[in-house]
Symmetry: C2
Subunit: 328 residues, 2 copies
Amino acid sequence: MIGQATAKASPNIAFIKYWGNRDDQLRLPANPSLSMNLGGLYAETVVSWLEAGGGDSFRLNGRDERGAALERVSAHLDALRRRLGVDSPARVESSNNFPTGAGIASSAAAFAALTVAAVAAAGATLSERELTTLARLGSGSAARSVPTGFVEWHAADTHEGSYAESIAEPDAWELVDVIAVVSREHKPVGSSAGHRSANTSDLQAARVAGAEARLETCKQAVLDRDFAAFAEVVEHDSNLMHAVMMTSRPPLFYWLPPTLTIMDSVRRWRAEGLQVCYTLDAGPNVHCICARSDAEEVSNRLHALSEILDVLHAPPGANATVISVNIP
Amino acid sequence: MIGQATAKASPNIAFIKYWGNRDDQLRLPANPSLSMNLGGLYAETVVSWLEAGGGDSFRLNGRDERGAALERVSAHLDALRRRLGVDSPARVESSNNFPTGAGIASSAAAFAALTVAAVAAAGATLSERELTTLARLGSGSAARSVPTGFVEWHAADTHEGSYAESIAEPDAWELVDVIAVVSREHKPVGSSAGHRSANTSDLQAARVAGAEARLETCKQAVLDRDFAAFAEVVEHDSNLMHAVMMTSRPPLFYWLPPTLTIMDSVRRWRAEGLQVCYTLDAGPNVHCICARSDAEEVSNRLHALSEILDVLHAPPGANATVISVNIP
């Protein structure tokens, strides 16, 4: 073994969504996005660069992965090898402390942790900014899981230009993501294929054209802790992304009947005075973003709805971090 | 009494949707639309022009209407009086043979029948083309309930230019609209207010820009009786309209949980070989447009779903017609 490192990284939930690429290969997004890391939830990944000979291996939650999952990890390792000047195979062992299929995008946390661990295991030290661009190559939204707290991911025409950076620390605003799980099924169309379909919607160009203005509105609302302004732009941006999805050809419908029930309930609860709004990724589960003071009430009300399988809680989370390094 | 006439007109279901006006006052639509009259369902309306003195009156389904409903009818009568050179009040008595609140837009049938009856009761004979423009002033989609069968309503910048005309007779294609009623509640936001909100969506311009091409595709599919092409463009156009609705500010969500279930089922049934597709107006009920040979099977499958309140059937319908005239 040449070197080994362990890193952990949290998934994130986007307030201003990433949907569609200007370059699928480099995962250069069509528009900038803004997210919050999900504290308490994380992927923990050990990367071991091995003596030459043999191929890469990938173990996820205690199970050896082959096929498409290994290929995707291996392709990402290729990009890291090129950057690091490493010519060795790697053993990757990763586990999530959150349930698989809970509607939490695990690839962001996975590729952020993998990138940070692989760089450390090679004995290299790269800027956070460069780490975000490298993580992006594995999974676009992984760029946002590298910096801390509330994170902006820039859209650009170059690899170097499309990086992510923190706009506020985790303690900047006491929000909680109360996640209503309504399905544990794997989504019928994965995110990578979904991103490639975005331009088949007549509506994508208009969604992208307004994204920068929405991001500025959302960023200001986060910095001002202005929940009313935040809720309006977050729900609007989520609706826009799903509008693009359901008007793509073929259409992508990620909502299930209980998804609609929860979205409608959240709007009603906010009208009644609770600080809560919804946002949805490419799946049916509903992320209810609440003021911490209202999180328990929102959670209780969600539990009272039928067809809710589980409710998870996540406060703002920290950056991807190296836990240990061992370079003999 | 100066003159009296009775007319009947069917509601219609749009395959290419009308949503948003270029002129709210004249109800000049943002884009052209295409529809099918719903045979067997109709509004029957008696208009009596009275001796001068007194105001208009409006009786709907045996009940005297006042307030907003009477005002809307009276405003439409004003437009007809101007065109006809009539200076008398009118008594309007209308009834629908289809259940109110069944998710069938009744205003199209109502204003088509009212217009045709009022003109006949004044002893006037106008071209069908002009009747469609007059009906449009009362309710935009009423223009489409005047001609027979499958109808195109043109978008234009002038009152005269925005008329409707039949593109095919009712027997041109054996389709059936199998209407799945999932709610009898009145919609939270009526169509007139909805049309006015269309431009608050960033996506409306893109929807409108593509409407003419979708209409041509749909028209050709109707004329060719090409169900596969028809289904794709009809569902896509419905999805586009609802995408605009849910991204308006404030957003308009017309779908209920069973709406999603039915849409998903219809897509699956079509994949299994049934000739069926869905389209939705500004409400939660689902119009399942079927080949006549598959209508019974679709109806049976809809009845088997929970949360279906009722299922109605309508084949292509005829034009608005004068049933009787009495000018003493």
